[in-house]
Symmetry: C4
Subunit: 249 residues, 4 copies
Amino acid sequence: MVCTVKIYEKPKLEKPVLIEGLPGIGFVANIAALHLIRELNAKIFAEIHSSAFQDLAVTTEKGDVRPPFNELYYYKGKGEERDLIILYGITQALTSYGQYELCGKILDLAEELGCRYIITMGGIRKEGKVEMPKLYFAAANIESAGDALSLGAEIFGGNIFGLAGLLVALGKLRGFGGFSLLAETPGYYPDAKAARAVLEAVCRYLKLKIDLARLDITVEATRKILEDYGILRREDKEKREEPGESWLI
Amino acid sequence: MVCTVKIYEKPKLEKPVLIEGLPGIGFVANIAALHLIRELNAKIFAEIHSSAFQDLAVTTEKGDVRPPFNELYYYKGKGEERDLIILYGITQALTSYGQYELCGKILDLAEELGCRYIITMGGIRKEGKVEMPKLYFAAANIESAGDALSLGAEIFGGNIFGLAGLLVALGKLRGFGGFSLLAETPGYYPDAKAARAVLEAVCRYLKLKIDLARLDITVEATRKILEDYGILRREDKEKREEPGESWLI
Amino acid sequence: MVCTVKIYEKPKLEKPVLIEGLPGIGFVANIAALHLIRELNAKIFAEIHSSAFQDLAVTTEKGDVRPPFNELYYYKGKGEERDLIILYGITQALTSYGQYELCGKILDLAEELGCRYIITMGGIRKEGKVEMPKLYFAAANIESAGDALSLGAEIFGGNIFGLAGLLVALGKLRGFGGFSLLAETPGYYPDAKAARAVLEAVCRYLKLKIDLARLDITVEATRKILEDYGILRREDKEKREEPGESWLI
Amino acid sequence: MVCTVKIYEKPKLEKPVLIEGLPGIGFVANIAALHLIRELNAKIFAEIHSSAFQDLAVTTEKGDVRPPFNELYYYKGKGEERDLIILYGITQALTSYGQYELCGKILDLAEELGCRYIITMGGIRKEGKVEMPKLYFAAANIESAGDALSLGAEIFGGNIFGLAGLLVALGKLRGFGGFSLLAETPGYYPDAKAARAVLEAVCRYLKLKIDLARLDITVEATRKILEDYGILRREDKEKREEPGESWLI
């Protein structure tokens, strides 16, 4: 198996932007992506499984069973809205090798669908209470940096862990533009405030009008999914194999 | 090597049900599968070895030596009994990658033999003494959920670790039906009570009449095999590499 | 790279016996193999490197550098002596996958050279002082068990870690005969007494007349090599990734 | 991906010497290589990425993003100066397998460019203050040992961790000459004194006249890069998976 992509449909899209939404620090991207999918009624077109995900089955409230997954959704923009590919999932890969492979598979498929621009989201851990989370970015090139600057984000100087960093960095090697947008967060729980800050900026860039009033419902849904999957309950017990900070929390 | 399947015989079976019986929480499946093999006089037809099993040799009372193994047995049902493929072994794979690969090999062979239905068994850890272990399930689809409900099991909401979860979940992606049936157990030893509860329900589904009186002998045999292999003695010292609960205990 | 075998010469041998001599509990096999090589003036014919060995260079007293290695030597027996292939090295592989692969490569080559019989050596940890180390064995089949019994060894009931167990167990799957011969040892240092007990018995089986008077010199040489390589100095700090006892010590 | 080499240019070089400069004990090689690149105005011609590097993106002061990397530079010597290939990077691979593979890729490319000689640099940890770091070496063959001796280095008896050891040792198997040159260092920070000692000797061998006055600036730059990448801040928290000392610190 290693990393397999099951494609249900190959959507015809106009220069779609890839939005990454996997669990990470403050679960910022995870919340934002789920909210986009729900509000835009985005359609699933592919499912990804990897033998670098955990060796277990996830269950749902109805007693259904499935392996740990990543999913790809698409949205065809109306009017000036951008077409989107949204990456959502309940896990990242557990090994560095698995992360690079997962990244490669997603970039392959995105490229095939005409995507040349990637936005990843995430959190920057900040001690204490965060009233108004500031936004930071790192970008694939000067144009993309300009895009991020125009959204009010400042330059970030540090490492960006997991697929939030790797997708933009490996995408860049293949000629993708894009940026990673990060909000300050205490990081230890699904952070609605940070997710709202990032999502609001991303929607401005994508010219999407999304109702953020229901974001709290999405935060609750994210918390529930992650608890079911055991990520939230395990947060302080976990240690990843590789050095460096984990994409978890 | 990685994961190799040595096939001694390709039995002709009528829609066989795959019964998983590897070591896991409370050793429920391990006991149940061994008891089925003994009582039904099921015949071994394949042996599986993997470089993701431990790098050691197991020895028997007679001084024989063999690598860690999984085995596949078959049973041709009489009358209304279902044909069976029984997966038995003394270990699961040590890495997530190894678990997915092992799972894939077993599903390949099961599919080739006409199997379209999988039953895995396991334990749900419960603090304190368990007088009458309740049964829970998670299923591959609605029909299979109906099967499990008819056996008196309730919906399980949580993760199912190891091959007990993965076989049903990855099987589902290939169109297999089936369910995972879990009994409450303290989990720290081969649990006869939990094994009896699960096995009794599984036999009802398979229309098998098995003598459960001798189950205690099988529990003792399982304990002996696992102690020889070092799993039981090591139970509290072990930590697996991947996050999440281990399939061990 | 993974696991590469560099062959200098393909010796013509008559039904050679493969003698395993890698570091393990009490360094019994390591000492015994080195002593055989020295006393028989056995000739190196192949060198094995693996990316599952440590990522470092070993140095010698003369300032030479080489990667961690396994080596294969041969000896053409005189008179009734058996032809030998001797496996010597300063390490085993660090991962279970690496161990299985290493084992497979050695069995491939041994088979090609006409070998059908494997003897591995090792220690069984015993608390306290061991005056007269008893010998234990586990064997690939009944004939081989008979061979070991005739040397005064008793049946061993337990796991045999690392290549000492794996070579006999995986060899058995390919039709090799042979046994693993184990001596009691405290295990925490290169144990001359245990090595002598095992080597004396093995030489009896192979009809080899070896001078054991110089064994202490070989023990000292082994200690020196292992200290240079860092195995002895690191013994109590190390923990291997896989569950179960390590082949180290 | 695993380990990919992106080649920008294939320089025509005259028997170039490969100089290794990855992070390691005391960051001796890392500082020395960066200083060579800066002072010689060496030109980048290839970039290496590996899925055995960390799964994260590195950012620069300008908000640029890139994956963890190794880079290859070349310098065409003037007059009696030797042509050089300089290996620089911010990380080594995280697994033993990744290290061997990285090493193989670099040797492939070096060989293709006519290189037959490798110099690696590093530190030997020494307790307490090191006033005048002594130099030690280990070499691929007698001629190379002579080269190192002529620079005033003494024979080193111990293991050389990471690519500093592996490049010379695996290179030797392919017929490369060369040596590893090591300076005493407390090891816990980028050590200007040790780097200066090693670099001065290496430049003598290569007949390069390098301004060492600005070395402190390079040390500061190295410290900054490593802090950005998180290596220096994490130094005491890290533990690598493989036994033995890590190449880190």
